[in-house]
């Protein structure tokens, strides 16, 4: 089945992406002077030598592998995780989901254009909104629990305040916040209901003010569709990580718009990125059938989670509360559970009847939720 971005993407995403006036590229020279008569050749030579230097610096510090350091700790025992709830109600593929901070509510979005808010304890549907577009690829719960954001093929991210009155038409209060020039692939509120971070098929990420819809910062650097993003845990400061079809995972400074670190070791699209709970590392899931762990302070990939028998892409990843377990949802309908430190798989979970497209651990770590192309969501514990 053709990947959506291949259906939607127009060529040369980076060059046609809109430039925001609030992110004017600095014109003052860096401390190393760039000669005004620089030719393409000399610039290319310099970028090649910088890339080599980067690799050299990273390699110098590569004194050991993570799984070697982890040899001395106890192996994990058997895990028994089962489906505890099945949320049925979407009429088509579930594409995205997010937990509310109250640890029981969930928002999910689907190819059928519907966004549903569920009480995961009772499986009751509390709210439902029909979007004006199909393929709602992104949804997020506001930190207050009072609103949800969503978007997809409409190229926008819209915020819907959740009403206590179940009969109220949520669509009437909808606020359009973000505008991209291609599909919205992911969205997430920052530490408050006031700002939203988005990623798009147009190759950019952007930070928006919810109230005014104003673009606060834009992030350029990916060479193709950006498919995912994750905000650093609040203790670690104002950064976020994004992954894209250019096989790169980029770490960004939210205030300056600068890409501060970039990792390119995956062999295909990166579908999902998620910070390790301490904020010092992040995991990624890719169409190359592997998940990987990148340490930000060592500035390199430190683990690959793969098996010869796993040949389908990983669509979504998340960590357990301590960071010891990594859950990965795959296109072969399974969920693989990995020992983050030792690198081996500790469990494989069956249940979904089609691709697992989205997966998130609950805020208190008691369960995780997976969404699938089989139209359902499952809560596992």
């Amino acid at each position: 089945m053709a990947k959506l971005h291949q259906l939607c993407a127009r060529g040369g995403a980076l060059e046609t992406a809109p430039r925001s006036t609030s992110n004017h590229h600095p014109t003052e020279m860096a401390t190393h002077e760039l000669h005004p008569n620089d030719t393409l050749t000399t610039l290319k030579m310099e970028s090649e030598s910088l890339k080599a230097k980067l690799e050299e610096e990273r390699a110098k510090l590569h004194d050991v592998e993570l799984h070697q350091v982890a040899e001395k700790i106890e192996a994990l025992g058997q895990f028994v995780m089962k489906t505890r709830r099945t949320l049925k109600g979407h009429g088509n593929k579930v594409l995205c989901m997010d937990w509310c901070k109250d640890k029981r509510r969930i928002v999910s979005s689907s190819q059928d254009g519907k966004v549903i808010v569920w009480d995961a304890f009772t499986t009751n549907k509390e709210h439902a909104v029909t979007m004006p577009c199909t393929w709602v690829m992104a949804c997020a719960y506001a930190p207050s629990g009072c609103a949800v954001a969503c978007g997809g093929l409409d190229n926008k991210c819209s915020v819907y305040p959740l009403s206590l009155d179940k009969n109220e038409n949520l669509a009437a209060k909808k606020k359009s916040v973000a505008m991209h020039t291609n599909y919205l692939s992911a969205c997430c509120f920052t530490n408050s209901d006031m700002q939203i971070l988005t990623s798009s098929g147009d190759g950019t990420c952007a930070l928006w003010d919810v109230e005014s819809g104003q673009l606060l910062q834009s992030f350029h650097g990916h060479g193709a569709d950006v498919l995912c993003l994750d905000l650093a845990p609040s203790e670690t400061g104002n950064t976020f990580v994004s992954g894209g079809c250019d096989k790169k995972a980029n770490v960004w400074d939210m205030r300056s718009g600068q890409c501060i670190q970039s990792f390119e070791t995956h062999e295909s699209d990166i579908n999902s990125v998620r910070y390790y709970p301490s904020g010092d590392a992040f995991a990624s899931g890719s169409d190359d059938a592997t998940c990987r762990l990148y340490d930000l302070r060592a500035d390199r990939e430190v683990a690959i989670y793969s098996k010869e028998s796993i040949i389908f892409g990983a669509s979504s990843v998340d960590f357990s509360l301590s960071g010891r377990l990594l859950f990965g949802g795959y296109n072969d309908y399974t969920i693989n559970v990995w020992d983050v430190l030792k690198g081996n798989r500790v469990s494989i979970l069956f249940g979904h009847e089609n691709r697992v497209s989205t997966l998130r651990v609950s805020p208190d770590g008691t369960a995780f939720c997976s969404g699938s192309w089989d139209h359902t969501l499952r809560i596992w514990a």
Binding site: E15, V64, Q261, A298, R324, G365
Partner: protein, 68 residues
């Protein structure tokens, strides 16, 4: 026209690589030790890792046992 564009992009790439090359890094052994230490410190309060009793997990139903 496209040459100017290519030069601008190449210049941007060089500047970006300079930023990336210039950051401070630590050894993998040290980074790994810190990741492990975090896991160890938080392991006991990770419900999916250590498991919580049925009575404490709202998703695990307390069903009565039926002996056949």
């Amino acid at each position: 026209m496209s040459t100017t564009n290519s030069i601008a992009q190449a210049r941007k790439l060089v500047e970006q690589l300079r930023v990336e090359a210039g950051i401070e890094r630590i050894k993998v052994s040290k980074a790994a030790a810190e990741l492990m230490s975090y896991c160890e410190q938080h392991a006991h309060s990770d419900p999916l890792l250590v498991g919580v009793p049925t009575s404490e997990n709202p998703f695990k139903d307390k069903k009565p046992c039926i002996l056949l």
